[in-house]
């Protein structure tokens, strides 16, 4: 028993060390992400995006009086329980000024409802897209830079019609993200006069989807609308379809947007056969390029591509939080959300990814600023959502994606 007491005390003293880790000159922003768990491969590049923004801030003069922006990471595991636990730690132990995340809609739902809204801490998610987050009674504390599924689903449906599809089969992974966007797409595509020949939910992480695809292919569809994370089931479905000649054409949303799709399937098989939507910016070429030029060299060696799903969102979310702190001029949690709205929307000096020094100078000079992010203009609506523009990504002549903005 004495031994146990000693062990507990040891753990306690380690905790004390942990709690004093942040020094006085650090400004802590919480970063909740599903680092372990079912979409770990998806989350790693997003967290890298957040880190990149923090690095830009710290290299170009830091926050306020040269303070360092420190991201405190907590693992929300893509699970509401873990999300609440992560939120609690970030809000109470780390004393985060604001929180970025969480990754999955479920974890975000739990975290914001149970922790951050009651505590009055602003949160800004970079990848939670579920429509239910829009409806939260959040005292203007919950934001997201990822467009709600409600927007992207419609954009993809419009794209499909424009590309001449009238009959599509549809399959979606049964998780919080893909089930949401699929239902929006289905409705929008029907409203636009299209026909869904068959719609099937599938369980992620299975080894083969040949039987589901064979059933779906029976209805004479011209292509497959595929809503899945590339890692959980997306690549397997594309491969099963192509190998067996079940479907040759695919429409997908940003859960599929990753270079590993091309790496694993091969550009030749996909050329002209796949369209993937992704949130994009008005001035896609300028802002996104600025971000990508910094992200690529920093993380490609770790196997993360700048175009990885939501990596750019991660960057924007972290950068926006930094701007909000700078604008508010303090680390007062209550001032964050108003400041965020000010820096995110025009009018004002346009700030692009990487331009922290410029932004800091402008704020110091009392100018209004308008952050035009890597993934969009980030003008938040009343619910804290962004409408977002979308790009369509196809496999062109080269070995990578060719990106065009949807107008």
């Amino acid at each position: 028993m004495l031994k146990t007491v000693k062990q507990v005390m040891l753990a306690g003293s380690m905790l004390a060390v942990a709690m004093t880790a942040a020094s006085a000159d650090d400004i802590v922003v919480g970063s909740a992400a599903g680092i372990t768990g079912p979409i770990a491969e998806l989350v790693a590049p997003i967290v890298a995006g957040r880190e990149l923004a923090a690095k830009h801030v710290n290299e170009q003069g830091g926050l306020l009086d040269g303070d360092t922006l420190v991201l405190a990471h907590a693992d929300s595991q893509c699970d509401p329980t873990a999300g609440v636990d992560a939120g609690n730690k970030l809000v109470n132990i780390e004393q985060s000024v604001a929180i970025i995340g969480a990754s999955c809609s479920g974890a975000t739902n739990g975290m914001v409802q149970s922790v951050t809204i009651p505590a009055g801490v602003m949160s800004i998610s970079d990848s939670a897209t579920a429509p239910s987050i829009t409806e939260l009674d959040d005292n203007d504390l919950v934001f997201r830079v990822a467009a709600s599924d409600a927007y992207q689903g419609v954009a993809l449906a419009q794209l499909a019609i424009n590309a001449g599809y009238t009959k599509l089969a549809m399959t979606f992974s049964n998780d919080d993200y893909n089930a949401g966007i699929a239902s929006v797409f289905e409705q929008a595509f029907k409203d636009l006069g299209g026909e869904i020949t068959g719609s099937q939910m599938h369980e992620p992480e299975k080894q083969s989807y040949r039987s589901e695809l064979s059933t779906l292919s029976g209805g004479g569809a011209e292509g497959l609308a595929l809503f899945a994370y590339y890692g959980s089931s997306g690549i397997t479905i594309v491969r099963n379809s192509l190998e067996n000649g079940l479907f040759g054409k695919f429409l997908a949303a940003d859960g599929m947007f990753d270079t590993s799709v091309i790496e694993q399937i091969g550009a030749d098989a996909l050329r002209g056969n796949i369209m993937i939507t992704q949130a994009a910016s008005d001035d896609a070429n300028v802002s996104y390029q600025a971000y990508a030029a910094a992200y690529g060299p920093a993380y490609e060696s770790q196997g993360y591509a700048a175009s990885a799903p939501y990596a750019a969102h991660g960057y924007d979310a972290a950068f926006l939080v930094a701007l909000a702190i700078e604008k508010a001029g303090s680390t007062d949690r209550a001032a964050m959300s108003a400041a965020l709205r000010e820096v995110a929307s025009g009018p004002g000096t346009v700030i692009r990814p990487g331009e922290w020094a410029k932004a800091k100078a402008a704020i110091a000079a009392g100018e209004d600023i308008n952050y035009e992010g890597a993934v969009g203009n980030n003008d938040f609506d009343a619910n804290g959502d962004v409408t977002g523009m979308f790009s369509v990504n196809t496999v062109g002549d080269g070995e990578g994606y060719t990106t065009d903005l949807i107008r």
């Binding site: 146990t4 507990v8 753990a11 380690m14 905790l15 060390v17 942990a18 709690m19 880790a21 680092i35 372990t36 790693a44 967290v47 890298a48 880190e51 990149l52 690095k55 990471h73 907590a74 693992d75 699970d79 509401p80 329980t81 873990a82 609440v84 636990d85 992560a86 609690n88 730690k89 809000v91 109470n92 132990i93 780390e94 004393q95 999955c104 809609s105 479920g106 739902n109 739990g110 409802q113 149970s114 922790v115 009651p118 505590a119 579920a130 239910s132 409806e135 939260l136 049964n174 998780d175 919080d176 089930a179 949401g180 939910m201 060299p297 920093a298 993380y299 060696s301 770790q302 196997g303």
Partner: protein, 364 residues
């Protein structure tokens, strides 16, 4: 000061989570610790409790069944009641299975229950979950809302503890212990063993449903991920075994301690992996990189040249999971019957054992 206040609030959340897990552990203790039923389907009853109470109390939504707007205690109570027939039916068909078969059967049934909640969109909104679940005292000002929530959970734990302790020393509990120790003897004594075990199974399941309902109200959200076996079944087992199965204090201690470790290691992990670790590994990696193609290593171990980020930082969460596994192994090896081992009922050890021995050896 603010920092101290933060610790205080965090400790409330530790207590609340730990308390909810303690409820689950006590439920499992009734089944395993006292009756010897290897139920690996805690998640199933957890899910029933969480979903039923959430749907009954959440405001109306077009996405799922609901709009009943019942008060929280009523929702929780009905959730427990709903669990009775389900647990009874499962127990009825499974209870006579040998221990590990029972475990695998209940594990499978819990997965089927989870799949039902995940696939029946009309009722549960599927993978997108049930939002806006009310939380007790949420209208109160901080920190009173959180204090009240923690207290409610702890009071439930205390009441359960008392009730189970009373039951354990009652004739019913003594009989249960006798059945676990020596089923043939109990059978020979004319007891309806299967009925008693079924009763214990159902009571344990109802307690688990209570735990699930409390979790739903605390998180204010339910989705099928919460009922995955890793967290809702295995973690509870680990807590009970580490704490000491058969001992209610052990069950509570195990839940609190393990949740504490589970939660706090995240804050500690980056500290116990010193930054210099990467520099220790770096030379080896450098030498290896002269011989090996880069492709086989996922991540360079060296600090990233551009960001200066120590890429081991990004590995801390995985190391944390590793440490949890290791801590579990150490607890198992140091305390093989749990930190607080079972206290055998003294009278039982004296009299019942002797009669059990006699009953066993008489027909020769």
């Amino acid at each position: 000061m603010e920092q101290l206040y933060g610790y205080f609030l965090y400790s409330l959340s530790l207590l609340t989570f730990g308390g909810i897990y303690a409820i689950l552990c006590l439920g499992l203790n009734i089944q395993w610790g006292f009756t010897g039923l290897f139920n690996a389907g805690v998640a199933g009853f957890f899910a029933i409790g969480a979903y039923v109470s959430a749907i009954l109390t959440a405001p109306e939504s077009p996405r799922h069944l609901g709009g009943y707007d019942l008060p929280i205690p009523v929702g929780v109570f009905i959730a427990m009641v709903v669990c009775v027939p389900v647990a009874w039916a499962i127990g009825r068909v499974c209870i006579r299975l040998r221990s590990d078969y029972l475990a695998i059967a209940t594990l499978g049934i819990a997965e089927i229950i989870r799949l039902v909640f995940k696939n029946e969109l009309w009722a549960t909104n599927g993978a997108r979950g049930v939002s806006f679940v009310p939380k007790p005292f949420e209208a109160w000002d901080s920190p009173w809302d959180q204090i009240a929530m923690a207290l409610v959970v702890l009071v439930i734990v205390a009441l359960l503890y008392i009730a189970i302790e009373l039951a354990r020393t009652s004739p019913w509990g003594r009989l249960m212990a006798a059945i676990r120790e020596d089923e043939p003897a109990a059978l020979a004594a004319g007891k309806n063993v299967e009925r008693f075990r079924l009763e214990a199974f159902v009571i344990g399941a109802v307690v688990m449903a209570l735990g699930g309902a409390m979790m739903a109200h605390y998180i204010k959200f339910v989705d099928p991920k919460m009922a995955e076996p890793l967290k809702a079944t295995f973690l509870v087992w680990v807590m009970l075994i580490a704490g000491g199965s058969g001992n209610n204090k052990g069950a509570i201690l195990g839940a609190m301690l393990l949740w504490f470790i589970w939660s706090i290691t995240e804050t500690i992990a980056p500290i116990i992996i010193p930054d210099s670790f990467a520099h220790v590994v770096y030379p080896f990696h450098l030498v290896a990189s002269w011989f090996l193609p880069e492709a086989w290593m996922a991540t360079p171990i060296a600090p990233d040249p551009v960001t200066g980020l120590d890429s081991w930082d990004s590995k801390a969460p995985f190391l944390r999971v590793f440490l949890i596994g290791l801590a579990l192994q150490i607890v198992l090896q140091k305390f093989s019957s749990g930190i607080l081992p079972e206290q055998r009922l003294q009278s039982l050890a004296d009299t019942d054992d002797a009669s059990a021995r006699a009953a066993r050896s008489s027909p020769s």
